[in-house]
Structures are given as C-alpha cells and as structure tokens.
C-alpha cells in the first residue's frame, strides 16, 4: 500500500466516521447529536454564526478564488 493510498484511506475513514455518527444520531436512540444539531448549537451565538459562515465563504474562495 503506497503513501497515496494510505492518505486517501485516512480521508475515507474520516468520511465513514461522519456518516456513521450521522446514522447513529438519526436512526438510533444513542446519545449522539446529528450534524445539524451540532451546527445549530455552534451557530447559536453571533460569533459562532458569523464564524461558520466566514469559514464557508473561505471554502469557496480557496477552491475557486484568485
């Protein structure tokens, strides 16, 4: 297994973890909040709200902007 494969496998594990937690949150009674609940909680204050939106804008700028 090359370094390239290991790196990609790491990303896939992270994505699988996100999917797993979301499934656990929405399909079971385990004490796991959904990603939406997490974002809502993080964005309850103005600082959190604006911070998240600025991070979103940065993603667009990073991938497409000059």
């Amino acid at each position: 297994m090359s370094s390239h494969d290991v790196t990609i496998a790491g990303y896939l594990v992270a994505v699988a973890g996100i999917v797993l937690l979301q499934v656990l949150a929405t399909r079971t009674r385990l004490p796991v909040p959904s990603l939406g609940d997490l974002l809502t909680r993080a964005m309850r204050s103005r600082t959190g709200r604006v911070g998240m939106l600025v991070a979103w804008a940065w993603i667009g700028l990073h991938f497409f902007g000059r």
Binding site: L21, L30, T40, R44, T47, L53, W56, F63, F64, R66
Partner: protein, 242 residues
C-alpha cells in the same frame, strides 16, 4: 418545545454567553469600557475565548503560508473583528451573548407560501449562478468576484441572526458531541499532515494529496465546477438557515 432566541430564560442566556465568550465571560459583570483603548484590548482578549475565533485564526495562518496571503489577511481581519465584537458584547452586556432576534413573526400560512416561493427562486438562481460561474476557469477574476460577493451577502444575512425559528434542542449529549469533535478534528489533522508532507506548501504531492489536490480533476471541467459550486451554495443556504 423551546425555540431558540424567542424569549431566552436565565438558563438560555447563560448557555448563549458560554458560546460567545466562554464560561467565565458569560457571568462577568461590566468591568471595562470597550470604548477606551484598554477596554478594547480587554474586549478582544475576552473574545479570544470563543473557539470559532481560534478556528478562523488557524485558517488565516495556514492560508497565508500556503501562498494566499491576501485570503489569510482577510480571515485574520474577520477573526480579530469577531473576537472584539464577542468580547465587547460580553463585557458591556453579560446577557447579550446571543445573536439578534429571529426575524419575521408573520402568520405560519403566509410565511409558508413566501418560503416556498423563496426556495424556488433560490434554487433557480443558485443553479443559474453555479452554471455561469462554473463556465469560467478557476482562480479567474469573474469567479473570484462572484464568490466574494456571495460570501459577503451571506455573512451579512447571517450577522442579524437566523432567518426563522428553530427548535433549540437543549443541551447536546457530551459523549456524542465528543465523538463528533474527535472525528472532525482527526479529519482536519489528517489534511494538515498531508499539507505539511508536500515538497513545499505551494507544491502538490501525489504521495500525500490534500483534499484540494484530490478535487483538481473534478474542478478541471466546467460541469464539475458547476456541480461543486451548487453544493457550496446549498451548504451556505443550509448554514444561513441554522
């Protein structure tokens, strides 16, 4: 069911204060005048207790050293502004940690109709916008202007609070929240490790590809760019609605 920011009770206010400025700030009395230089410095320091400020500072740092100093400076300005704003509000009004109130108290039926129209218009507008912007090459001025314009509008909309009432949901369960933090932080650290293992911060590596490198083939085509831009716009709208 409690509704966020409708009429916050003492418990809600304390929870919101923790968001804005940390646990200690939330219960602090007005001890400094944010209008004076010393008060401004104290306000900025108090605002540094907000985790999101540190996230933005980290983004600013890594953006700057990755060959986009202007983006980094912009993020730095936003992070500093947010820290100052959060600290100022926490020092001046200990109970004002939350965002502005929810807008709109119309009847549910009229609101639902308007919302349906707005969603339809946004979907159509978003598709057209993504299609047009995706037709330009990456890092071109038209796309940059579009992204900056949209980002500014969305941040300004979000500044005034959520667009509609949402269930508060109460406290999040600690074990599940920690599990989310572990996964998300691990993902970010993995990306950071790949970035640091490149030959240089501005040179891609096949052995240690970052997410940006992996998405290059998709973003090399016009339909791919439009698709990703549409997803980006949808994510922005989703966040504004939170």
């Amino acid at each position: 069911m409690r509704v966020s920011r409708a009429v916050p009770g003492p418990e809600d206010q304390h929870a919101q204060n923790r968001d804005a400025g940390g646990s200690a700030t939330g219960c602090a009395e007005a001890v400094a005048d944010p209008g004076r230089p010393a008060g401004r410095a104290l306000a900025a320091l108090a605002g540094l207790r907000a985790p999101v400020v540190w996230v933005l500072l980290a983004i600013a740092f890594f953006t700057a050293i990755s060959g986009k100093p202007v983006d980094g400076v912009l993020m730095l300005i936003v992070a500093a502004g947010l820290a100052w704003d959060a600290g100022r509000r926490a020092l001046r009004h200990p109970d004002a940690g939350s965002a502005a109130g929810v807008r709109g108290t119309d009847r549910p039926r009229a609101r639902g109709r308007r919302r349906l129209l707005a969603v339809g218009a946004l979907l159509a507008g978003g598709a057209v916008c993504a299609g047009v912007m995706g037709s330009f090459s990456r890092y071109s001025w038209p796309v940059t202007a579009g992204i900056v314009g949209l980002g500014t509008v969305v941040v300004l909309i979000g500044w005034h609070g959520p667009l509609r009432d949402r269930p508060d949901g109460g406290r999040l369960p600690v074990p599940g929240t920690l599990a989310w933090l572990v996964v998300l932080v691990a993902g970010c650290l993995w990306e950071l490790a790949a970035l640091l293992q490149q030959p240089s911060l501005t040179t891609d590596s096949y052995s240690h590809p970052t997410i940006s490198t992996l998405t290059d083939p998709l973003l090399a085509t016009s339909p791919g760019r439009s698709l990703v831009l549409l997803a980006w716009l949808a994510l922005g709208w989703y966040l504004v609605e939170r």
